[in-house]
C-alpha cells in the first residue's frame, strides 16, 4: 500500500527517463505476475509466455489500428483469445500426460509457432509489424491514449491490481488447492483435487492475464514486431523477475522487476561507456546465479522472513526425523 502510494506520488516528479524505465518495469512485473501465478501457485512451467503477450499485443493493435476500436476492447478480446489458447494448449497437453518440463517445452513450441505464423501473416503486418498512429490531442482513459506519464500510471495501476488479485487468489480456496497440486499432484488428487481441471484453469487465467500486459506493452511501445513481442526474449524476460523476486508471492514479481530491469539498463549504459558490449548480460547472469544460490526462495520471501520469527526454520530434530525417513 505504502509502496504504491509512494510510487504514485513519485510518478508526478520523476524525469522522463525514470518514467519510461519504470513503466517498462511495471508492465514486466504485471506479466511476471501472470507467469508466477502459473508456476508459483499452479506448478505449471511456461517458457513460452511470449505467446500470450503477443496475442494480447496483436489484439489491441489490430482492433485499434485497423478498426479504430478502443484498446479496452482490444485488451478484452486479447485476453479472451489468450485464455482460450491457454486452455486448449493445457487441455491437449495434460490429456496426453505431457507434464512438467515437457509442458514447458510445448509452450516454447507454441510461442515459436505463433511467431512464425504472425511473421508471415500480411494482414497483421508480417515482419514489418504494426505501428500505432502518432498521438494526437489530450490523453484519454477511455481510449487509453496519453503521454509517458499517463502510461506510467496505467502500468502502476495494473501492477497494483495484479498484486491484489494474486493476494486474493492465494487466500481463496484456489490458492490452497493450487499449492497442494504444485507440491504433490497425486497426493492432492487423493484429497479430491480435480487436478486436470485446475491445471487447465491456471494456464488459462495466466494466459489471459499476460495478454492484458502484452496489450499495454504494445500501446506503450507504439509499435509491435513479431520477433520482439513474440520472441524467446520476451519469454525469458518475463520469467526472470519472478524468480529473482519470489515465485508465487504477491510482491515477488514486482520486486524482481524493480531489481533486474534497472540493473540491465544501468549495466548496458555502463558497458557502452567503457566500450565492452554485453556486460549487461554478464551482470544479469551473475544476479540470477547469486539469487538462486543465496536466496532460493527469492528476494521478497527473504525480506519478510527477516521480520518474522525463526519459527519457520526446521529444527535439528525434524531434520533427524527426515533422515530417518529416508533410511526407511
Amino acid at each position: 500500500m505504502v509502496l504504491f502510494a509512494a510510487l504514485a506520488l513519485l510518478g508526478a516528479v520523476f524525469n522522463s527517463y525514470l518514467i519510461s524505465l519504470l513503466t517498462i518495469v511495471f508492465l514486466f512485473a504485471f506479466i511476471g505476475q501472470s507467469w508466477s501465478l502459473m508456476l508459483g501457485l499452479g506448478g505449471q512451467l511456461s517458457i513460452g509466455h511470449a505467446l500470450f503477450v503477443g496475442i494480447g499485443a496483436y489484439s489491441v493493435a489490430v482492433l485499434d489500428i485497423k478498426y479504430g476500436l478502443s484498446p479496452w476492447l482490444g485488451l478484452l478480446v486479447g485476453s479472451a483469445i489468450a485464455g482460450a489458447v491457454g486452455a486448449a494448449l493445457a487441455w491437449l497437453s495434460f490429456r496426453f500426460e505431457v507434464r512438467g518440463i515437457y509442458f514447458g517445452l510445448l509452450t516454447i513450441a507454441a510461442a515459436e509457432f505463433a511467431r512464425v505464423m504472425f511473421s508471415g501473416w500480411e494482414f497483421v503486418g508480417g515482419m514489418q509489424g504494426l505501428f500505432f498512429p502518432a498521438q494526437s490531442g489530450e490523453s484519454s482513459l477511455l481510449m487509453l491514449r496519453g503521454g509517458a506519464r499517463f502510461y506510467y500510471f496505467v502500468a502502476l495501476g495494473a501492477v497494483a491490481i495484479g498484486v491484489g488479485v494474486t493476494a486474493l487468489i492465494r487466500k481463496s480456496f484456489l490458492g490452497y488447492v493450487w499449492r497442494a497440486m504444485r507440491d504433490d499432484e497425486d497426493a492432492s488428487r487423493a484429497l479430491g483435487v480435480r487436478t486436470f481441471l485446475h491445471k487447465v484453469l491456471v494456464v488459462s487465467i495466466s494466459g489471459a492475464w499476460a495478454a492484458v500486459g502484452g496489450g499495454l506493452l504494445a500501446l506503450v511501445q507504439g509499435s509491435i514486431f513479431p520477433d520482439s513481442i513474440m520472441g524467446m526474449g520476451i519469454s525469458i524476460d518475463v520469467l526472470i523477475g519472478p524468480i529473482v523476486g519470489g515465485l508465487g508471492t504477491a510482491f515477488g514479481p514486482l520486486i524482481g522487476a524493480l531489481i533486474i530491469i534497472p540493473l540491465d539498463h544501468l549495466m548496458s549504459a555502463f558497458s557502452d561507456s567503457i566500450g565492452i558490449p554485453g556486460l549487461n548480460n554478464v551482470a544479469y547472469g551473475i544476479v540470477l546465479i547469486a539469487v538462486v544460490w543465496f536466496l532460493p526462495d527469492g528476494v521478497w520471501p527473504a525480506l519478510i522472513g527477516r521480520f518474522r520469527s525463526q519459527k519457520r526454520l526446521p529444527s535439528i530434530r525434524s531434520q533427524i526425523v527426515q533422515t530417518q525417513e529416508v533410511r526407511q
Partner: protein, 241 residues
Amino acid sequence: MTALLELSHVSKRFGGLLAVDDVSFSLKERSITALVGPNGAGKTTCFNMIAGAFRPTAGTIRFEGGMISGQRAEAICRLGIGRTFQIVRPMRDMTVLENAMVGAFSWTRKVPEARETALEMLETVGLASKAHASIGQLTLPDRKMLETAKALSTRPRLLLLDEVMAGLRPTEAASVVRVLRRLVERGLTILLVEHVMRIVMEAAENVVVLHHGAKIAEGMPEYIVKHPEVLAGYLGDGFRG
C-alpha cells in the same frame, strides 16, 4: 447387514507379476477391518485400487452399491473414500493446518469452513497444538496423524489407513485405536493395513489376510491367529503362544 465396500474377484497384474490375485471381501458399515499379510502380499496394491490410483486388471469394486473400479482418484475421494499414503506425502510448503484444509476443499469453497473442519480433524488426531507448524517440524508419527487428518477433512464415509500406527509406542498406538473407535461410533467405516498384530487384535472386528496376492483367510482376529495357514505363511509358529 449392508456392505459399504465390496471387492469381488479383484486382480492386479504388473507385467509378469500378479500382485493381487482374485481377492474378494466386503466391509460392513461402521466397522474396522484390517488387511494384514507379509511385505509384498498386495495390501497397498489393494488400497490403491480401491482409492483409484490403479485400475484393477480384473474384477469389480463397488462402493455403496455403485461401481467405482476404474474411476479417477479425485472422483473416488469425492464419493466418500478418504485415504492415507504409507509413505507420508505432506505438501511441504504448506503448514500443518493448510495441509489439512486441502481435503475440505473437496466439498466446500469457503475458506473459513475449511479451516474450521481442518482444525477439528487436527484436534481429533491430537495435532491441534501444531496446527501452525511447518511440515519440517513434525515427527514421523505426527506426519502419519496429519495424513489421517487430511483424509478425514474430505468427510469420508470410508477411511483407508495405510500403516498409520507404524513406529508408534504401544501407548500412542492405543490412543490412536481409541480415536478410530470414536470415529466408527460417529458413523465412519475403516479399512486399515497394519503390521503390528497386537494393534490389529485390539482394533479390528474383521481381519483379511493376504499372502502372495491371494486371500488366505478372513474372520475375527481370535480366529485368524489360530488359523493354520496364517500361522504357516505369515505369523509363524511363535505366535501360537
